[in-house]
């Protein structure tokens, strides 16, 4: 471009932008995706309550025991607290600290993986008593918790991808949209667990 030519592009930051300069399109995309996924879970939980209150007054039906809470009492804080290191990881990279980003991601990963492993044990115990093919309760129980577990697994895969890129030096204070998006997703997955905990695990004990 010669000196006499004007600029051909405005002086603006290039997307994806981070904390300053407004929210990027990628971030909005993740937000809308989360709306969809949240609706999926809302529909699943509504279906659970519909079948429950339309059906047999004893819940769970067919002699199935009420959900055991011992493992859940460990799994729940493990998962919910994992949002902490994830949030810390995001804050760190916003300030440009790649080392803390990596550490935060790793801790979150380990906590999430622990959750899934414990869920595996929980399934092992439950499946001895009933399966998704036993009755509608079984179908709902395993589908809803399994769908959530799938979301946790996908979150862990995304976490690994972030770690991989963090080790390759791809993230900085200016460029870290993916970290923001995955963090948002991870908080979402944790929040869904609260609803599942209350609906599927606690409510049969509270409402006879």
């Amino acid at each position: 471009m010669s000196a006499s030519e004007q600029r051909l592009v405005p002086a603006l930051p290039r997307s994806p932008v981070g904390a300053e300069g407004g929210r990027s399109t990628g971030y909005w995309g993740m937000v809308i995706l989360i709306f969809t996924e949240a609706t999926l879970f809302a529909i699943l939980l509504t279906s659970y309550f519909y079948v429950r209150f339309q059906g047999s007054p004893v819940w769970p039906p067919d002699g199935i025991k009420k959900p055991e809470l011992a493992l859940i009492a460990i799994m729940t804080p493990v998962l919910l607290l994992s949002s902490g290191p994830m949030h810390w990881a995001e804050l760190s990279i916003k300030k440009g600290n790649v080392g803390r980003l990596r550490l935060g991601l790793l801790i979150t990963f380990l906590m999430g993986a622990t959750f899934l492993t414990l869920q595996g044990f929980e399934y092992h115990k439950s499946l001895a008593e009933f399966t998704p093919r036993t009755d509608a309760y079984g179908s709902l129980f395993f589908t809803i918790t399994g769908f959530h577990g799938l979301h946790v697994a996908v979150g862990l895969l995304m976490n690994l991808w972030l770690q991989w890129n963090a080790w390759r030096g791809r993230f900085s204070a200016e460029r870290h949209l993916a970290v923001e998006n995955v963090t948002l997703y991870w908080h979402f997955v944790d929040a869904v667990w609260v609803f599942i905990l209350v609906s599927i695990y606690l409510s049969p004990h509270i409402w006879p």
Partner: protein, 627 residues
Amino acid sequence: MATTVADRLEEIWEEKPGLGSWLDTVDHKRIGIRYVYTAFAFFLAGGLEATIIRAQLARPEETLVRPEAYNQLFTMHGITMIFFFVTPMLFGFGNYFVPLMIGARDMAFPRLNAFGYWVFLFAGLFMYAGYAAGHAPNDGWFNYFPLASKQFSPDINIDFYTLGLIFLGISSTAGSINFIVTIFKLRAPGMSISRVPLFCWAILATAFSVIFALPSLTVANAMAALDRLFGFHFFDVAKGGSVILWQHLFWIFGHPDVYIIFLPAVGIVSSVVPVFSRRKLVGYVWLALATMATAIIGFGVWVHHMFAVGLPSLSLTFFSAASMLITIPSAVQIFAWLATIIGGRPVLATPFLFILGFLFLFVLGGVTGVMFAAVPFDQQITDSYFVVAHFHYVLFGGAVFPIFAGIYYWFPKMFGRMLHQGLGKLSFWLMFVGFNLTFFPMHILGLLGMPRRVYTYPAGLGWDLYNSLETIGAYILALGVLVTVGNFVWSVSMRRGLLAGPDPWGGDTLEWATDSPPPPYNFVEIPTVKSGEPLWDQPELRAMNERVIDRERTLATGHDTLGTTVLDAELESILPMPHGSFVPILAAAGLGLIFGGLIAHLEVVIGIGAALLVGSVLAWFRDQGDV
């Protein structure tokens, strides 16, 4: 100097012709045209199904079509028209025109856009593979249980339905995310919320409706697939499941779906009415709010499809009230458009004729809709030919007529040539007369007691004459559609139509500020918008190609468009746009293999599909470069 800039942009944005470019394009205009072509092909398929149905029903106890075949035909007619024609057609127009109307160079996520199209195509082929297998879905487009269960439908017909719709849903969701983010973030500077064209408002309302409604259908179909393929018991009454649960989940999606169909069509109406009335729309704010209100209230009326199920009276009275309430926003829209027409100087060109047809037919369908809100009357006429009449008036009259208006209005922009006006008017009259002859008598048939979804009926009940008339009407309607097809072939394919130029109609929105068809980069510069009718109020925008207003806005240094703030459209960022990529079609193919493997019970195919999908997704994020 403007030529140099345009040349630079051409170099940056051109897509070289050839098979490779055809497969890897991410240009919203090419993708939009593909949606339009493919959706129209499904329209013809659905129309063929309808003409066979009408031939079978022309006379009592006719034996042209066996019941097995008939039940597949009426089911596929509904599925095709609703899922594979109307919404994709309107998304096609949305794809093409939303970026143009908001002054952007493409959608927010161009590769996601391409992916959405390929998934739509593959899902449509998947659904139609049912016919090839001799087992197309055959339990009606709402697929009630227990008939749809493995016990009563042991063959794979219903699996095409459940899996096919889950597959298609991925496309609809992707498209909706894209529309929302595009309309939020890619508008030209100055296009504040109150200056957004009503077509874009309509697409926005539709996209949000998809986001919140489609999950209900997806969950329902996933549960159905789990019941049928893996022995689960969601809808198995004997094991504590509920068949009414299916109905609720289906209609929680199904009712908003009719607004997903109707609202973009309404957007087309709001685009055409002011241009052909040659005056500004009356009540822009009312129309935008009415669009949103319809979408929102639309989530609260679904039980009116279930008034005969035996639900508690309290439920019925609530949903009756809500179903009546939803009339109000539509009435506001009708009167706003009427006021615009009456206060204007209308030009009776073909696009406008289809809009006039829409206004009449939709109102007629709307008043019968109000009748359905009255529960006791509904309990007589639901599941009868009266409801068939009603929904064809509101869906065909309410969406297809605007689609044809859109075809005659926008094809000149898309293809550079006018469609022949005489043939257009002929097409309109054949369609209008044929439509009314086909569907008006159905009101009477319903009142005479003819139920819907019957492959034949006995003589001597007083139904015969009406059915014969309806069949004649259907063929007239079909002829009217074919006239438009012929018009397209003659005017566009054979290039006999008049050259359109940038603005053949005197339009008010930004798509008319560029060539017909637009260059790959849409506009030489991204303009600053100062009004809701930019082309009427800012004449300098018409000459942008010759005389650049602001060189900074040409973004001629890269493959970029502009990002702005959500409410006021203030300048915010440069958005780099991806070049063509094979990843979208590969990812869609991966999904296709997964669904194909599921229905054929071939685990290997599922595995290959999953690997292809995962690989594509990883490549997708690599493609992005810096994240």
